[in-house]
Amino acid sequence: MGNDYMVEMQHITKSFGKLIANNDVSLKIKKGEIHALLGENGAGKSTLMNVLYGFYGKDKGKILWDGKEVSIKDPDDAIKLGIGMIHQHFMLVKKFTVLENVTLGMKEGKWIEIPTEEIRKRIMELSDLYGLNIKPDARIEDLTVGEQQRVEIVKALYRHSKLLIMDEPTAVLTPQEVTKLFEVLHKLRAEGKSVLFISHKLPEVLEISNSISIMRDGCMVENMENRPDLDERQLANAMVGREILLDIEKSECKPGDVVLKLDGACCDGVNTSCGVTDFSLEVRRGEIVGLAGVDGNGQTDLSELIMGLRKQTKGKIEFLGQDITHLTTKQRRELSLGYIPADRLNSAMVGEFTLRMNMAINKPDKAPFGTKWAFNKKSAGAYTREKMKEFNVIAQSDEVPAKNLSGGNQQKVVLAREVGEKVDLIIAVYPTRGLDIDATRFVFDTMLKARDKGTAVLYISNELEEILQLSDRIGVLYEGTLNGIIPREKADVTTIGLMMAGREAEVIDK
């Protein structure tokens, strides 16, 4: 019997305690179609996908696979049906080879020897068919991010997946790698496979998808075919439910004297990161320097090097003219700067500590938090509450553990701590990761306000749109080096994209 739809999710409801993550959500995906699922952070997209893949159980609703109702209780069931999932954070064992990762989860016998020859052959077959370019005996930790993603795709195809779910697949790719991925997706579609593509990147969604579904606040609000006349503004409004300004008002940049200066700075990488090589950069008062780059090209290395969390092997770092190369992190913390690290919950806050204690953690022995001999709960609490109001942090009190807060509110607390008092330099690394539009807006405003008051801002992010909107000057991080720095007026997506892939800025700038 001919059935147009590969999968139909009907009236799915899923709650976590009081929170309704999916509220009567329905979704239909045709066979041989690329279907995009759009929504803000917190809209419920991941929950819906996890229900489909069996990671979560649904409270209400039906799932039809090829017309028949099915029950998906764990990933096993999903895989058996033919659903493959490619997670945002790849589910690969770094130490194993490609072949071993593909082998995992095979049901044929526990005690037999792994049939390596057979598996190797099939991997090569799939690799050739879809243009994936995979070497079966490579170790995952030696592969690039783009290659690792293709290993995930091979894994799914190996199990005869008919539907591939991809969760934010382009977040970690350069624009050029994205093009390559889209070629693979087209081939999949040509072979009759379906792809469900979760994203918040509107231009890509418009480029690749056949149908688009939009979620908002746990509900499905739109289902549409991709038409030539659709534009980003319409999608964005559906995502947020109101007219939003995608553009930011920025006053003219009037740079002052140099606040932060890196001169040939180098440091080694940690685990698989690339470290920093021969980095020279100046950040001046009243300007925002944005550093673009694909995740994993030295963002954390650079910011940690500046903060003294890495051993500097060569070069110099100066802050307001003072050589800080040999200062410890503690000593750098006493300078007038604010640091917003990438990994919010793990690096910037102690989840189990109260907000009050988190506010104090940089200097618990200084006013208003305490003295050399005693921590003053009362004054620390009063200060915290004051800042919570100023930064619009929504929480029960200053005594709740930080891990209870939402991502956006946590970030606001970090901002309150780091830039609540005027500082001369802000270093921000992926500050809007995982935040919804309102919180993102707040971060932008904070950065711009600081810049207008004369603070120097170093803004490191992998979201190209953000960098383009905020920065006065844009540089690119590539493999731990500064691959060019150009004024905002001269920058566009293509130029930056090429720089992100390693091409020289001068070569492009004809």
Binding site: F55, I79, M91, L92, V93, K94, L104, M106, E113
Partner: protein
């Protein structure tokens, strides 16, 4: 010449209980669980196997009973350490106290101050052709029967852990449990089974120690052997073959401890001599390279939503 051969021969015999624990630790820790139940599994097994030996006089039955006891203790351990997610080191310590208290109390209550009388231990069996090989033959192939089984268990365990599908699953669960879960591997079940297998091996070590080597049960008779088993596994990179090497070092040290007083020119206090195995342990630890990293997801609790 003979005394040197005897020295090495007895080193192997003494190393075996430690090696058995080490093999068990390989399974357990590769799956991401600290094998802190090793000592309690071993000691419990000593007790049960001696009890069975006294009751039936059958050494095979006694050893099987000990193995089973080790496995049951490991199963209980896995409930707390894997299922519930309590701190593995402390739960292991608690099991140590519990089993020590239980066995010592039972010993005191049923056998009073006299202790358990020693029974006859199974003797050595020389393998016909192999034991004729000069030096090596006398050392390796003139051992109690159970030791020969251990010779086989080492390569077999290596194959299971590194070449079989099940071994791949165990290692995956230890490295990246989310990944394993996403391909349908039951993380908690895999870890539980690995821990139980570890307990069976520790139990085997305890049974062989009690039935074959010592011939009776005394309070806390396992001493630090289980910890040495854990250190051996660590040194061997959690591979049964590497662990065998380290376990041998411990066997050599213990054999030395037993024999050094017989040498006429050595006059060490018995306490200093007893330190040899522990000093060996510290040396092994120091020699272990810095790049010994536990499986990435060691002791991290895993939970499904």
């Amino acid at each position: 010449m003979t005394s040197i051969v005897l020295y090495f021969n007895s080193a192997i015999t003494l190393a075996v209980p430690i090696l058995l624990v080490a093999i068990g630790v390989c399974y357990s820790e590769k799956s991401g669980v600290y094998a802190m139940n090793s000592d309690s599994s071993m000691l419990g097994s000593c007790f049960i196997s001696v009890a069975i030996m006294l009751g039936t006089g059958n050494a095979v039955l006694a050893i099987l009973g000990g193995v089973l006891a080790g496995g049951i203790i490991a199963a209980l351990f896995s409930i707390f350490a894997v299922r519930i997610g309590a701190n593995q080191c402390l739960i292991g310590l608690a099991f140590n106290f519990t089993v020590m208290g239980l066995t010592s109390s039972l010993l005191r209550l049923f056998w009073n101050t006299g202790g358990i009388p020693q029974f006859a231990q199974p003797g050595r069996v020389a393998i016909p052709l192999l034991s004729q090989i000069p030096v090596i033959g006398a050392i390796l192939f003139n051992q109690p029967v159970m030791i020969y089984l251990v010779y086989i268990m080492v390569p077999v365990s290596w194959w299971v852990l590194f070449k079989s599908t099940w071994g791949l699953q165990i290692r995956a669960v230890g490295e990246n449990p989310s990944c394993a879960d996403s391909v349908g591997i039951r993380v908690i079940r895999t870890r539980t089974i690995a821990v139980i297998v570890g307990g069976l091996f520790s139990g085997c070590g305890g049974a062989i120690l009690a039935v074959q080597q010592v011939g009776t049960f005394t309070e806390e008779m396992t001493g630090a052997r289980a910890w040495m088993g854990i250190i051996s596994a660590y040194f061997g990179g959690w591979s049964p073959i590497g662990s065998a090497g380290a376990a041998l070092v411990f066997g050599l040290a213990e054999s030395l401890e037993k024999r050094i007083q017989l040498l006429p020119f050595i006059n060490l206090s018995s306490y200093v001599v007893q330190m040899f195995p522990y000093i060996a342990a510290l040396i092994v630890i120091v020699l272990t390279g810095r790049n010994r990293r536990h499986p990435a997801a060691m002791a991290k609790y895993y939970q499904k939503q």
